[in-house]
């Protein structure tokens, strides 16, 4: 690809990002903040980040790991503990049965970074034994570690730090963020988009670097990759740690979004949902994961809502009632898994060329990568 084309493309990308930011700001200034659309956008952005981080492992490095919920749990708790004001930590309003052992507080951004780092450190430790395992054993072992993490966070002895199995709340959430040096509240949706967009951007850069090519080589054929001089363990560990770092940050975002955090929420079912998002989007496609996480959240929370309302019943049948939405939804997922195993995007990426292609004359052999 020549330099002029590349320059043009980055200009286009910049324009799109700027337009998106403007649209979000305008939306937040004009629409009611309780609107359903905002919830969808926020949650979608958070899930997009964790789905992309899982895709980095499952889709680009070929490590079938199911520990994502555990790393999100670390991120969410670290964030909640670090940003809770000291006065609340000392009072009885959150730590009712324990005396909080953490005597300081951090700002939002440092706390998020620490959340990611802590998740990454745990991943590095867990990775040492676990990454020697292959395919399904790796899946079960990472799943197991996520469960162990959940048990540790709910443990009584950890109470002074994690508040046991009780809810964490009254930390800095999305409504508490201010524009730097002022008292104007920062638009929450924009914040979610900025953080997760930045993180996804870093992951994309990583995948397009020489490390990313090594990851893909490991995915395609481990033995051949090793023969070409790629240090298998080093690269696997790296992919695992980086993926967990971003899972930790998305956990922190989720904590901000929800206002409360409880360890019981981060079950294996959560990992399964993230995995299904990745599969629907296409294993090995970043843009696919982003699209499908917004779709997933939209269907789950909004578009299929009418299926749950028993007032919509036709012919007096009582098929439609609470829970039916989830049944329909999981059938759709099964259909995608069985009949469209490539998902929405396969392993390709969305790019301007692809979007333009239906309009322009199709050139054979031109790949969308770039």
């Amino acid at each position: 690809m020549n330099a002029v084309k590349g320059k043009k493309r980055s200009l286009y990308t910049g324009c799109i990002i700027a337009a998106l930011i403007v649209v979000l700001v305008v939306m937040e200034l004009t629409m009611k903040s309780t609107s359903m659309v905002f919830t969808l956008l926020k949650k979608g952005a958070i899930y997009a980040l964790v789905a992309v981080s899982m895709n980095l492992l499952n889709g680009f490095t070929g490590l079938f790991s199911l520990g994502q919920a555990g790393f999100m749990l670390i991120g969410a708790y670290t964030y909640a503990i670090l940003t809770m004001p000291v006065s609340i930590k000392l009072s009885d309003s959150v730590y009712k049965y324990y005396d909080c052992a953490i005597g300081f507080e951090l700002g939002v951004i440092p706390a998020m970074i620490v959340a990611g780092l802590l998740a990454a450190i745990f991943a590095a430790l867990i990775g040492l034994p676990v990454l020697r395992l292959k395919s399904d054993y790796l899946a079960i072992a990472t799943l197991g570690f996520a469960e162990i993490l959940r048990a540790i966070f709910q443990w009584d002895a950890m109470g002074p730090i994690t508040n046991g199995a009780n809810v964490m709340r009254q930390y800095q959430d999305l409504t508490d963020i201010k524009v730097p040096f002022t008292d104007i509240p920062f638009p929450p949706v924009l914040f979610c988009f900025l953080v997760s967009g930045l993180c996804i951007g870093v992951i994309v850069l990583l995948i397009n670097s020489s490390y990313g090519r090594a990851f893909k080589a490991i995915r395609d054929d481990e033995i051949a990759a090793e023969a070409m001089g790629i240090n298998l363990f080093k690269h696997k560990e790296m992919s695992f740690v980086i993926s967990s770092f971003f899972a930790g940050i998305s956990g922190a975002l989720l904590a901000m979004f929800q206002y409360t955090v409880q360890a019981a929420q981060f079950k294996t079912a959560m990992t399964y949902e993230i995995l299904l998002i990745v599969v629907i989007g296409g294993i090995g496609s970043i843009s696919g994961s982003c699209i499908s996480s917004f779709l997933f959240i939209a269907c789950n929370e909004w578009l299929l809502r009418f299926l749950d309302e028993s007032s919509n019943n036709i012919l007096g049948l009582t098929i439609l009632r609470s829970g039916f939405r989830k049944v329909v939804f999981s059938i759709i997922i099964m259909v995608i898994v069985l009949f469209f195993p490539k998902g929405i995007m396969g392993d390709r990426e969305l790019s301007l060329d692809r979007l333009k292609r239906p309009f322009a004359k199709k050139e054979k052999g031109v790949d969308a990568h770039g």
Binding site: F64, V130, I140, A151, M334
Partner: protein, 296 residues
């Protein structure tokens, strides 16, 4: 620390739960032995059997409901294999997609159960005789606690005989050894796989009858954790080996209850996974597993 003062109830409960886990673990180990697939949906099949029982026993006498539960669960296992796994297998999809399909089935079964139960914990019917309380060595327990291990051993012995001495059992062993060659030898691989799923689901249904009699309520998520534990039991015993799975299940059931008795209930689930990780690192083939060699 109640365990130290009075260990009997915990050990009894452990043996009983171990027996119930064993029945589920066999389903995992047989399917993995043949397809190299962790059937994530197996734990949910077990849960659905419980839900079937709740609904059927509400309208039918127990004598009719129990056989019907067994038949329906077997049918469910058969249909899952035919609809969700076979198409992928014939298409030669990578192993990962079959596993994802299994996770999808698990998600579907849980959501269906959520829909039909309305998300509430359903009270499991009392089975006469099995639910009666008895006293043994100073510990009060339900009769099912004592029946389970005996029943499990009988079923396992029957199953092992079946696999050793019948034609279909021989076919199963052949397919587990080498998928392609056994197909060349004229074995109908698909019917062997179906038979595996039928046996696995049948045992899961029996296991669910015993398990839920002990626990008295069914929720849509009550299949997940026992399912994972039973998989760990299968790995512990050496995946593909039936006696191994049974021993693994008893080890997990008993140690889990001892840990509960020592007052570390939060860690009873975590222990299982810690055991898994240790086993995978120290002896990845499990207690009785055969060493598999990868050809390049």
């Amino acid at each position: 620390m109640q365990f130290l003062q009075n260990p009997m109830p915990y050990i009894l409960a452990g043996i009983s739960v171990g027996g119930q886990y064993a029945l589920i673990a066999i389903g995992y180990t047989m399917v993995y032995g043949i397809l190299r697939l962790i059937n994530f949906a197996h734990g949910d099949v077990f849960m659905v059997a419980g839900v079937f029982m709740v609904f059927l026993s509400a309208s039918l006498p127990l004598g009719l409901a129990i056989p019907l539960v067994l038949v329906l669960t077997v049918l469910l296992g058969f249909v899952i294999e035919r609809v969700a796994y076979k198409p992928l297998r014939t298409r030669n999809a990578p192993r990962m997609s079959i596993m994802i399909s299994a996770i999808g089935v698990s998600y579907l079964l849980q959501n269906c159960a959520l829909y039909f139960t309305g998300g509430l914990a359903k009270v499991y019917p009392q089975l006469p005789w099995l639910s009666d309380t008895i006293e043994i060595f100073g510990a009060v327990t339900k009769r099912v606690t004592l029946i389970t291990p005996v029943f499990t051993i009988v079923l396992v012995v029957a199953l092992v005989m079946f696999i050793r001495h019948t034609k279909i059992g021989m076919a199963m062993r052949a397919v587990a050894k080498d998928f392609e060659t056994s197909r060349l030898m004229g074995i109908k691989v698909n019917s062997v796989i179906s038979a595996t799923f039928i046996i696995g689901s049948f045992l899961a249904a029996v296991g669910s009858l015993l398990y839920f009699t002990n626990y008295a309520s069914v929720t849509p998520t009550s299949g997940g954790m026992p399912g994972l534990k039973c998989f760990v039991a299968a790995v512990f015993g050496g995946i593909g080996s039936i006696p191994g799975a049974v021993i693994g299940a008893f080890v997990i059931g008993i140690s889990e209850n001892i840990i509960k008795g020592l007052g570390w209930t939060t860690f009873s689930d975590a222990f299982t996974f810690a055991l898994l990780i240790v086993i995978l690192l120290v002896k990845p083939t499990g207690l009785f597993g055969e060493k598999a060699t990868d050809k390049v």
